[in-house]
């Protein structure tokens, strides 16, 4: 099937391919699927600026998550306490947190803290 024919008429928006991974039980909130290969627009339509991790978090909560318990992922628009966000295996606090601008090929990992022992 000619995939090109299905594409919307040449818009200026490009997409960024990224990988999103959930662990520590968070995958249960995302159809029990650990890894998602996603394409996000390179420009955030709501801000007209380059797409950030902050946009990704909102997108995941609104469009990817099917579970009704949104508060187990997002609280007051931000990732809830007890979840670490790693961008390419580095704590997002080292990368500018929500302001980090997504790059093609980025791997974003959401890890819920474990307590068992």
């Amino acid at each position: 099937m000619p995939a090109e024919a299905m594409a919307p008429p040449a818009a200026e928006t490009k997409t960024i391919p990224i990988t999103v991974e959930f662990s520590g039980g968070l995958e249960l909130l995302f159809k029990n699927q650990r890894t998602y290969k996603l394409s996000v627009p390179d420009v955030d339509p709501s801000t007209n600026a380059a797409t950030t991790v902050g946009y990704l978090v909102k997108h995941l909560a609104a469009d990817v998550m099917v579970d009704a318990r949104k508060e187990l992922f997002v609280v007051e628009g931000s990732v809830r306490p007890g979840i670490l966000v790693l961008i390419n295996d580095a704590d997002w606090e080292l990368e500018g947190e929500e302001e980090y601008v997504l790059q093609p090929g980025d791997a974003v990992l959401f890890v819920s803290t474990l307590h068992g022992g």
Binding site: S23, G25, R69, D89, D91, G116
Partner: protein
Amino acid sequence: MSGPDRIPPHLADETASLRARIAELEAELTYHRAAASPPPSTLDLTREEYLRYSRQLLLPQIGLPGQTALKRSRVLIVGIGGLGSPAALYLAGAGIGTLGLIDHDVVETSNLHRQVLHRTSTIGLPKVLSAAKALRDLNPHVQITTYAEAFTPGNAEDVIAQWDVVLDCTDHPKLRYLISDACVLLGKPLVSASALKLEGQLIVLNDPPGKGPCYRCIWPRPPPPESIISCGEGGVLGPVVGAMGVMQALETIKLITRPKGKELTQPRMLFFSAAAETMWRTLKMRGRREGCVACGQQGIKNLGSEEEYALFCGVPNAFALEEEYRLSVRQARELVLLGTKPLLVDVRDRTQFGICKVPGSVNVPFERFLAVGEGLPEEIVGLLQEERRDVVVLCRLGNDSQVAAKRLLESGVHGRVWDVRGGIREWARIAPEDGIVEY
């Protein structure tokens, strides 16, 4: 030359009795020496120890200085379970001078698949005693101090002050914050790990003391209490938690034997996931948080109370269904087997439902109720439309079933609705003949 016949006969007897007396005195001396237990300030290794530690002594990273440092060190393990067991075994094996063990639990059957220090023969014993027994058998050179008590704000400072390095092998965030705070307060490095299901995490905190981040720097706010899952609820695979405990022992040995000035500057978290494509990952973590309430500029001056730690971490909203909607196992059994034959809905997850089930029950996992937010999961709506019967809800312990029953009541089902007090566990005790087991 004097012949044997010249030996006065009493000499042999006297020699024998003196030998016996010497042996007696030597035994007494050994006992007193052991009791006085000169702390491993005797840095010399015995001949037996050179041989015992030979394979690690050969490593340039250990050598005699490393082995001496290990023998001189005092390491505290908080929690002697799935993490603490392998950690203690490897640390005792490696020749740590003194090991401290603190835990208030006793050994239970369901511990044994992962808590490899304990034995079937030590079920019912305090974990610290069961552990001390196994560790002394492994390496009698290690001094062992046991605390058969809970780790609390009341004893935290007195206990931790006695040790050089602390391992957090506990299972609740409340304790993790407390241990970290105490380590910050007393300037001790903390090797912290956790595990659940098929995953594990490990991070070395407050290392070097006063420089590295603490638990609160990494997790300033606790997770919501309803997101906290214990090994008893979520399950855990033995080798997964075992691997994390072994890694804690490794990090502890590295910390003790590293040359001065060789501390890591970039905090890292070791992340293990048995089911992921990449099983082991090292994650780069943030450093000390300036505004950290524990280790930041203000810093803590003293620990909070038990209540403060409990309040900080919160407790899940316990929901209680009104008594009129609750059945005992006996009542439920009569209804299901002999009475009006209500629909028996088991809300445990599919895995647990696969372990054992009441004949004729249907499975609608509790997760499904939570995931839909409000109203009822489709599958139960279908069941109720087919048969306008009464409904009995059953879970593992009798907690989730109350919430699910309430949801059914609120959704206006036609028949009556109850849950079962004590759930499957109680059922197994009352009527094992139904094929129900406690697990």
